[in-house]
């Protein structure tokens, strides 16, 4: 999402103001850009704006289920952030909105039917084990929201698994049907493409509407808050693999669209995989990261027991991000 070169001076500036032991003269690598456009807070506000269509769609489709998860995750994430930052004696970081972004992404990745403690535990794990334990924002290896979600996903399979998304007695229509990804896993039937596109299906709160994710994601890419290389890499990989599966299974194009618009693919590609802290720095590296994420997503969707694989794919690629960074160090001009 942002250039590391431009992020460093700002981060140092923030620390300088709060850290009493900061040296009198601060030496930072160039370029010394102090443009306020690139502050963490501005970026996070951009992400929040981009998330708005998803939030609206989730509230429109899932009504109070979505509101409940959003409120729970926001309250727990902000509470956890304040608490753990205090424990670590770091400066107050709630105002950079990164915890708000983590909370909303986490809430949108949960099923609406999940009980309250799922959101609370996922939020606390996301902020504490996902972020603060590594030293706070900018130091974490894994995407905090996905760490929190993986924790509850493995812990509470009965309320987070594919079957738990469906509640036949729910007053909200969407929840009474199986998720399109699970339906495909069980019966091999692809979802209705127009329903997937507008989002009138069951699923995690923020993942159902392809159009909302596209609007928000394009906004992020145009604003350069998210790097376009990562979603591009993911779509390339998914398109190729789903295309191969489509051709071999005679789905006449439905399967490709099902995989592109269904599940958390668009949401994950634009909002989760593009986390600047846990994705590579160079554009080549970002593209490799995207391709790898897409490959893992399709591997999980087609061959694993899980109907969806965006979360595990992103976490796995987070783990190899330092390696990709080492591979793709730009060669300075003139070096032999």
């Amino acid at each position: 999402m942002i250039n590391p070169m431009t992020k460093k001076p700002n981060k140092n500036k923030v620390e300088q103001g709060t850290n009493e032991e900061a040296p009198a003269i601060h030496v930072a690598p160039s370029p010394h850009i102090s443009d306020s456009v690139f502050t963490t807070r501005k970026m996070m506000v951009d992400v929040l704006i981009a998330l708005l269509p998803l939030v609206f769609m989730s509230i429109y489709i899932f009504e109070f289920y979505a509101v409940k998860q959003l409120v729970i995750c926001l309250a727990s994430c902000l509470g956890a952030e304040a608490l753990f930052v205090k424990i670590r004696h770091k400066s107050f970081t709630l105002t950079d909105f990164s915890a708000v972004v983590t909370a909303i992404i986490l809430a949108l990745s949960l099923p609406g039917t999940a009980p309250w403690y799922v959101g609370v535990i996922a939020s606390v794990v996301a902020i504490s084990i996902g972020k603060i334990i590594f030293g706070g924002l900018g130091m974490n290896i894994f995407n905090p929201a996905m760490v929190g979600r993986a924790f509850v996903m493995i812990s509470f399979a009965s309320v987070m698994g594919a079957a738990a998304y469906t509640d036949a007695g729910a007053v909200v229509d969407a929840i009474t049907q199986a998720t399109p990804m699970d339906a495909f896993k069980q019966t091999g039937v692809t979802g209705s493409i127009s329903h997937l596109f507008w989002g009138l299906t069951n699923g995690s709160l923020g993942e159902t509407s392809a159009i909302a994710a596209l609007i928000g994601g394009l906004y992020l890419c145009i604003r350069r808050t998210a790097s376009w290389e990562i979603p591009a890499g993911i779509f390339t990989a998914v398109f190729l693999i789903a295309g191969a599966a489509d051709v071999s299974g005679a789905f006449s194009g439905h399967l490709v669209l099902h995989h592109l618009f269904g599940g958390a693919l668009l949401f994950g590609a634009f909002f989760i995989a593009t986390d600047p802290v846990t994705s590579p720095l160079t554009s080549k590296g970002k593209f490799i990261f995207g391709i790898g994420t897409g490959l893992f997503i399709m591997l999980f969707r087609l061959f694993s027991g899980y109907p969806e694989g965006v979360m595990f794919a992103v976490l796995l690629m987070n783990a190899v991000t330092p390696l990709i960074n080492r591979w793709t160090i730009p060669r300075p001009l003139g070096e032999v």
Binding site: P115, Y117, I121, I129, F151, I154, S155, F156, A157
Partner: protein, 207 residues
């Protein structure tokens, strides 16, 4: 030898100041593998205690016969003898537990904690010191295993030693029963122990 710690010091050091798991980071394989319940953890701690104390005593008895270049082999053979006894004993009297622990009882042979104690203490000091060192370290190891198992079993199943301690509405944290739970618990408890240690040394340094 004058500079070697006494039996009492050895005993006390093993429990907390030089706790095998939390301070020396030794024997982590069983620490991670068998701590998903109190019962397997207690059995493992008892088996390690038996092997450690016996191996320490025997090594100490033969310490004057040891040849430097062969000592590790002798340690391993001594340890293997007692591990075999422990393994067969469990298979005979606690068959189900023996099945649960699987390969981890034979693997005590390569538990570096025991070789470490043979090398550091038993091959240099008297039988009584070696025995009290063995008891101290075994207690420290048991303490570490049981503390991790307590966290994992309570959060993972809501039970303690198989008895329900949390209300039945408690949602089981399945992840705590799986390997990631072991790593998370060990890491967090290690952090807690380090934090306590830092506070203690600060307090003693300040006064």
């Amino acid at each position: 030898m004058a500079d070697q710690p006494t039996a009492t010091e050895r005993f006390i050091q093993g429990i907390l100041p030089e706790n095998p798991v939390y301070r020396q980071l030794l024997g982590l394989c069983p620490t991670l593998a068998v701590t998903n319940g109190m019962k397997p953890a207690l059995t493992m701690a008892a088996a390690v205690a038996f092997v450690l104390i016996c191996a320490n005593i025997v090594t100490s008895l033969i310490r004057n016969l040891l040849k430097p270049h062969l000592r590790i082999v002798i340690f391993t053979l001594t340890i293997a003898t007692f591990v075999t006894i422990a393994d067969r004993f469990l298979a005979a009297y606690l068959y189900q537990m023996s099945k649960t622990l699987g390969p981890y009882i034979p693997l005590i042979i390569v538990n570096c904690l025991i070789i470490c104690r043979c090398e550091v203490c038993a091959s240099k000091q008297s039988v009584f010191t070696a025995a009290s060192d063995g008891v101290g370290q075994a207690l420290g190891f048991g303490l570490a295993l049981l503390s991790i198992a307590a966290v994992r079993e309570i959060l993972g199943t809501g039970m303690f030693f198989g008895y329900r301690v949390l209300p039945s509405v408690w949602p089981d944290w399945v992840i705590m029963m799986l390997p990631p739970g072991a790593f998370l618990t060990l890491g967090l408890l290690l952090g807690a122990v380090n934090w306590i240690e830092i506070r203690r040394s600060r307090q003693s340094g300040g006064s």
